[in-house]
């Protein structure tokens, strides 16, 4: 594993939204520490368990939401914090162990090289047939040419962080379609880099916890995709 250099890079923050992830967070933060000395910002989305305490014990910066608002609002809190504190680069990743901290350098490299403002760590192989169908449908509807629309493993440049932390992005419920369309409208270049993803360390997905949650996601994303399909289409290259 290549440890990400500490001094010669712009300042990097890692944002991890977490809801009831006390069991997963310890090992995830330990792996993160081994990969980078970047500031780990855990946004506790009003968990019922010891998520915040586990994160603090592991040396992470902990932001505690006063109510549960969902993954995107928690993520945006971390992005706002990072922007406010002058970070040049922000990586968002799940707190459930699906994303490998050793691959952070894979997704920040294109930003450091000036190739893109947003890099999505894509892993199409993890998707079920149903999810791939949903992605294809949403790509068709929105005009976005991104293979992995729902990956939460992303890197943002400072410019992109400003857009993601903006008032315009506050009403989104998910870190995917709406935000990517906003990036396109702001003419920020979004690219993907292939990464591997592991199954969750423990428990089940918080975002797609039921079929009702999936239906809500599809309905919400369909309306967003259709209404925000803009004229600023820009090709996304892999």
């Amino acid at each position: 594993m290549n440890r990400i250099p500490d001094t010669n890079l712009p300042r990097l923050a890692i944002v991890l939204p977490a809801y009831n992830e006390a069991n997963n967070l310890g090992p995830v933060l330990a792996r993160l520490r081994a990969a980078t000395s970047a500031e780990a910002i855990v946004v506790d989305d009003h968990s019922d368990d010891e998520t915040a305490a586990v994160a603090r014990a592991a040396g992470a910066t902990v932001l505690s939401m006063p109510f549960r608002f969902g993954a995107w609002t928690a993520t945006q809190t971390g992005l706002r914090y990072a922007y406010r504190h002058g970070y040049d680069l922000v990586v968002t990743m799940d707190a459930d162990g699906q994303h490998d901290p050793a691959q952070i350098d894979t997704i920040i490299a294109p930003i450091l090289d000036g190739q893109a403002e947003v890099v999505i760590g894509a892993c199409v192989a993890r998707a079920s047939r149903l999810r791939r169908f949903a992605w294809r449908y949403l790509r068709l509807l929105s005009g976005l040419e991104i293979a992995d629309l729902t990956s939460g493993f992303r890197a943002y440049s400072r410019r992109a962080t400003a857009v993601a932390a903006s008032w315009a992005a506050t009403s989104f419920d998910y870190q995917d379609l709406g935000l990517l369309l906003l990036m396109r409208r702001k003419r920020l270049r979004v690219i993907e880099r292939d990464v591997t993803m592991a199954p969750r360390l423990d428990g089940k997905s918080r975002v797609f916890s039921s079929w009702f949650a999936v239906a809500h996601y599809m309905a919400f994303s369909s309306i967003l995709g259709a209404s925000k399909r803009g004229r600023y289409a820009e090709r996304v290259e892999r």
């Binding site: 040396g59 910066t61 932001l63 505690s64 939401m65 006063p66 706002r80």
Partner: protein, 113 residues
């Protein structure tokens, strides 16, 4: 005659109810304006049902009573839409405030590494 009295009473009741809710700070002034307007309309059309015939004929509506139904439905749709717009604005502000609070709380505690 009884129906007129009931409708007029209903309108007056709604109007007084709105004033009571404003007085108790349960309803913000600008929302109360809408509901007082509704109660005035109930009083007017309940007390003088001929008003709707008079208005319908002037607007060329073949069956005037339906005018009241259509206008009421349209106004309800407008009210529901503006209500949802307002809830969306409030939700955005609430999220923003909660985010600010989480960040400021952390900074006040001085926990930053």
């Amino acid at each position: 005659m009884l129906l007129r009295a009931i409708l007029a009473g209903l309108g007056i009741g709604i109007g007084l109810g709105m004033l009571y809710l404003v007085r108790r700070d349960r309803l913000h002034g600008s929302y109360a304006i809408w509901w007082v307007f509704v109660s005035l309309a109930v009083v007017a059309f309940g007390t003088w049902p001929g008003l709707i015939d008079w208005l319908g004929i002037r607007l060329g509506v073949a069956y005037p009573p339906i005018l009241l139904v259509v206008v009421a439905l349209l106004l309800m749709l407008v009210k529901m839409l503006t209500g949802d717009l307002d809830r969306t604005r409030q939700m955005r502000k609430l999220r923003y405030l909660a985010q600010r609070m989480a960040i400021l709380e952390h900074e006040v505690r001085g926990e930053r590494r």
